[in-house]
Each structure stands twice: as structure tokens, then as C-alpha cells.
Symmetry: C2
Subunit: 370 residues, 2 copies
């Protein structure tokens, strides 16, 4: 497992906060991929109770070459634990082992572990180095780029957080083979997203390679992860602090977050909400006259082939659309109560805009499972 | 109260994060001083239950000209409430009023309010604008510059936080007249600090003007606040993220934090810990052969005239020095367990270095009240 097969690299260019994303097979315990990250006596691997038995020992083994003390902290698994209380377990572990401000945090897990570890690194002593080792496809294509870290608040998802960049991201594609098929599908939602908003060539490629991806063929995964990271890097590079352009990355997320929040965090996977949410956002784009019905149908078919839901959940039996609107108004992207939607402004191009409530209600009514 | 008397300005130059500190009389409710800060529909004034009845209404009145919704949140007063739980009250207030990411937070209070409001602003939706309106001398001379925000953790002070810059700082000197004398003295500790580490001319000036300062003469306060902010700005401008030089601002703080933590947060005011801590750090500098006994005596006399303690507290009847060392080893400035002391490397010049435990023990034994 020492050789780097299919090793690819995407460079995230953010001035003094620049870092590389390494993508390939057998990277997890290859000492070469950790060279160049900041040294420091202590390391804390933050993971969860599902991932820890699979990979924590291998990571701790390779890190023991770089740090004289390597500890592992396994958090409870799941979006419902993405809270301040869980985050505090990281601070407790750091402080009780007298971790200094040169201690490196390694996030070994999916998006929840990555978001919490990154936020812990951003806040501990006002900032310590951290390295992302994402073990889900979702985390590899989405959390690898952008520096978004956060925890949830009872009144909203990802409401408390920071923009904080890792030292590097290590995407070992082999670990995706242990991922439950449902989670692999959830990750594919974020890959698909990059097609309609930025690259119709990627949409073509996905239509040809969807089966290879779902079968975890390494070369297909490598292309999907690399291309997704590249597109996201281009967008984030132009707008690190999410003041404008970067918002297009939230295609499908406004509706998707409403589903996640309305069903209770953890019931729908994030990617599942994004899958159904992209269909709803595409349908809204069609209602606004920006794309035709064939485009919506094509996207919907691909989302279905990825093993994702294409219809939203019923969140309220009496006033379903009203409940969606209520939840979307507290979204971070809302401004003074006006919901901002990412729409497809012609294939391969996204835009952010408001929409009349009546139109949004019609889309929700049409796109939700009866 | 509309005219700006004695108005002074210090510019903090941090590239795109630059901001002004406005210093003068009658600034609190002068509309002119808030012009230029980012506009936005909502504003939340975060203050405490002591300051709120004195100044919140005046601030809310002037802010109503700039924001259509101005809310006030009064937190419990005191260092013991500088916790995540209290911080969460700010997030609750923001989320329950659907505050968007253009909402401005105004910190109206002392260092605790400023640190918590700044950290809340840094984290809420990954960053919203905030304005500091410090109402204590300590906050005006210390928290105004540097962007340090934080909350305490049961295992250490200011352990969880962020570097986050305000839009501007409004130092109204009139409000210092309502400050209890003990808190005014605590603020003077941070003013005195700038003498030995950077500017012996300031030390001379303080020896002449100590009575005027303690009597809250506006022109004396204006000079002390302005000069302190200038010196701190020079140091911070060269080292925003506290990688080296900036550490000299912690003169007296390593010993002082041990006193604060050892006595239980809130028993000693921060500035009181720094007062006694500066004497201990000066004595350590003398032990290291860097300054003479006359220098230590001169500094000690000035600290005494400021109404501050010049001897450390007894933290442990059996092994007092051991308890100090134990507490200082978990300080953020410690590296791999080695305590880093800020010492006076000749009058007006500071340095950061380690020291043998035996020497530190001797200093503690000599400088603590029996």
C-alpha cells in the first residue's frame, strides 16, 4: 500500500493559506503524503466510532513518524452529534493532554468529523494546524475545498462556524470501498451538482460513468473527485469569504437544508437532501424560464441513477410549502428574510436570485412525494 | 453631547481588515462616529446587566438612525460568565430574531463583553460585522487592538477563540467616570505595561500624571488610551497572528493568569493579576541579570500608585510555587510544557524566553504575600 497509484493533486491557491489536495489509492498510510505539513510534537486524530476501527490505527501508525505523541478521539457518529457539546469533547481532549498551539488536528472521517475538527482547530487557542483525511465521497468532493467549518445550532444548520483552511487534504480513494452504498450515493449528489452549475462536460462524463462510480472503480473516482475539487477551487479562489459567486455551490442546498431540518437532522443524508433539492431548484429555474423541461428531466434521471431521491419529503401534512418557506427563511443565504435561490441560468451556468412565494410554492407542491 | 471634544484617532493598519479607533469625549451617542461602519438592517447590542441601565438606551438611540431593528441583549456580568453557555445566549438571540449575515453586533461593555461579542461575531454564520464600544479603561487600551476574541474553558482562560477584527472601536472617555475605582486601576495596569516593554517616555509621563488619570481627567485619559493603542497597534501590525513579537504584550500576564486561575476567575480582576504579575516578571528579569533592582522598584512604586496589588496571591499553602508552575504550564504561550516568560531585556525593551524552574520558584516565593 506504499506506492501512490493514480495519485493526483489539486492546488488550492489562497495566498499564504494555500494547500494541496492529494487524490489517489493507498494514500492513508503513505508517509510521503504527510511530508510538508507543519511539524509539531503532538497530534490528535479526531474521528468517529464507525471510522476509528477501520482506519485510525493505520493513520496513527504513519503519524507516529512525525509526532512524538499521537492520540485518537472517536466522537459519536452522525449529523445529530454535530453540536457544540460534541465539539467540546475535542477541547477537553486537547486541554487535558496539555496540547499546545503547535498541535496538529487530523480529521479522519466524513463531513461531520471534518467540519467539527476544522472548527475545533480554528478555535483552539485561536487556531492550530489541521489536516483533512476525508473518508466519504461527500467529504472528499465537498469539504476538501473551501475552508468551511461549523457546528449546528438547534435553530439552524452550520450556524456557528469559521472559515479556516487545512494544511492539506488527503483523499484516499480506497477507503470509499468500505462506504455504505447510500453514503456513496449521497456523495455523488455533490459531484453531479458541479455539472449544471459549471461544466456540462462533467454531466456528459457522469452519464457515461455512473455505474463505474457506484462500483468504486478507482480511475472513475479519481476523475470525479479531482474534477469536483478543481471546479470548487476555481469558484472558492475567486470568493473565499462567500460574498457572492461562491453561493452558486449551494445549488440544491436551500431546498435540501429545509428537508434535512424539517425531517430532523440525520433522517435524510445531506446528499439526499441535495439530490431532491437539485430537482426542485432545476424545476424552479424552468418556472423562471431559464432552462427547458428536457434539461430538468436529464438532471433528474442522472440523480435517480446515482441512487438518490428525486422528490422532496412532506414536512407538514397541512401546509407543506409553508413549512419549506419557513425553514428556508432562516437559511444563512437568506437576506432580511428574502430567500436567495441558486438557479440554473442556462445549462452549465448558475445564478442567485429571489423568486415569488407563489412560484416557489407551486414548485414544492409539484416536487414533493405525496 | 454631540460635539467631539478631544477626539483622537488611531488607525489600525491590517490591509482589508483595517479599522479606526476613535477616542474622545461624548462619542457614545454621536452619530458621526458610527458613519462608515457597514450598514445592515439589523443590529444587536450585546452588553451586561451593569452597563445596560447606564448606556444601552443611548447607544440604541443613535443606532436606530442606521439600522431599522436594534435589539439589546444584557449578559450576566463577570469573568465567571465568559463561557460557551453565555456565548450561546448571543446565538440564541440572533437566531430567534432571524438575524442574517449582514447583522452588526455592537459590544457595549468591558473586556468580557468585548471578547465574547467578538467571538460570537466571528462564529455566527462564519462571521458578521462587529463594533467595539468599550466602557472600561482596560477594554479601551487593551481589547481595542489586536482582534483577540475568546471564551474561557474550565481548564484554561481564553482557550477557545478567534482572531477577528472589529469594524471600528469607539472609546468614549466620559463613560470611565462611572467605572468603580478598582476597575479603573485594573485598566491602568495595561497602560503601565506599555512603558517597560516599549516606551520609557510613557513611564515618565505616567509618573507625572497618575493622579490626573485616577481622577478621570479627560485630557490625561485621552493621552493614555491613545498612546497605549498606538504602541499595541505597532506591535500587532507587525504580528497579527501572534507568531512572535506580539507575545511581548503579555508582560506580566503569565504570572497574572496563574493568579486569576488559581484564585478562581473573578476573584482577582485581570488587571490586578497583571499588576502583581508585572512585578514578578520584572523580578525574574532582574534575577536573569537583564535589569537592575532600581528598575524593579520604580515599576513597583508606579503599580502601587495606580492602586494595584504588587504582591502575588498565595495559591497553595503547601507548595505555592509548584501551583504557579503547574498553572503556567497550561498557558497558551507554553510550548511543549516549557513556560515562555516575557522579560524586560533592558528598560523599554521586552523579550520572550524560558527560565530555570528553580529561579522561577525563588521569584514566586519572594513576590507572594505571606
Amino acid at each position: 500500500m506504499q506506492g501512490i497509484s493514480f495519485a493526483q493533486q489539486v492546488s488550492i491557491d489562497l495566498g499564504e493559506r494555500s494547500y494541496p489536495i492529494l487524490i489517489g489509492s493507498g494514500l492513508l498510510d503513505d508517509p510521503a503524503v504527510y511530508e510538508g505539513a507543519k511539524p509539531g510534537t503532538q497530534a490528535l486524530i479526531v474521528t468517529n466510532t464507525v471510522v476509528a476501527p477501520l482506519y485510525a490505527e493505520r493513520l496513527a501508525g504513519v503519524l507516529a513518524r512525525r509526532h512524538s505523541a499521537v492520540r485518537t478521539l472517536a466522537l459519536p457518529d452522525g449529523e445529530q452529534f454535530k453540536t457544540w457539546e460534541t465539539l467540546n469533547l475535542v477541547f477537553d481532549a486537547l486541554l487535558s493532554s496539555s496540547a499546545d498551539r503547535k498541535t496538529t488536528l487530523y480529521a479522519l472521517g466524513g463531513g461531520v468529523v471534518g467540519d467539527m475538527t476544522g472548527f475545533a482547530a480554528a478555535c483552539y487557542m485561536r487556531g492550530v494546524p489541521f489536516v483533512q483525511v476525508p473518508t466519504t465521497l461527500l467529504a472528499q468532493v465537498d469539504s476538501s475545498v473551501g475552508g468551511k467549518t461549523a457546528v449546528n445550532h438547534p435553530l439552524g444548520k452550520n450556524m456557528i462556524g469559521a472559515f479556516y483552511q487545512p494544511q492539506r487534504v488527503v483523499c484516499d480513494l480506497d477507503v470509499l470501498k468500505t462506504l455504505p452504498p447510500r453514503e456513496l450515493s449521497a456523495g455523488l449528489a455533490e459531484v453531479i451538482k458541479y455539472g449544471p452549475i459549471a461544466d456540462m462536460g462533467l454531466l456528459d462524463w457522469l452519464e457515461t460513468n455512473m455505474e463505474a462510480l457506484r462500483a468504486c472503480e478507482i480511475s472513475a473516482l479519481a476523475h470525479a473527485v479531482k474534477r469536483s475539487c478543481q471546479i470548487k477551487a476555481d469558484v472558492v479562489g475567486a470568493d473565499e469569504r462567500e460574498s457572492g459567486l461562491r453561493a452558486i455551490l449551494n445549488f440544491g442546498h436551500t431546498f435540501g437544508h429545509a428537508i434535512e431540518a424539517g425531517m430532523g437532522y440525520g433522517a435524510w443524508l445531506h446528499g439526499e437532501g441535495v439530490g431532491a433539492g437539485m430537482v426542485m431548484a432545476a424545476e424552479l429555474s424552468r418556472e423562471l424560464g431559464l432552462v427547458d423541461a428536457a434539461f430538468v428531466q436529464r438532471l433528474k434521471a442522472l440523480i435517480h441513477r446515482a441512487g438518490l431521491p428525486t422528490r422532496g419529503a412532506i414536512l407538514d401534512e397541512n401546509d407543506n410549502a409553508g413549512r419549506y418557506l419557513q425553514l428556508m427563511r432562516v437559511d444563512k443565504k437568506a437576506e432580511s428574510g428574502e430567500i436567495r435561490f441558486v438557479v440554473i441560468d442556462g445549462p452549465g451556468r448558475a445564478a442567485v436570485r429571489g423568486a415569488p412565494d407563489a412560484l416557489v410554492r407551486a414548485v414544492i407542491d409539484r416536487c414533493c412525494a405525496a
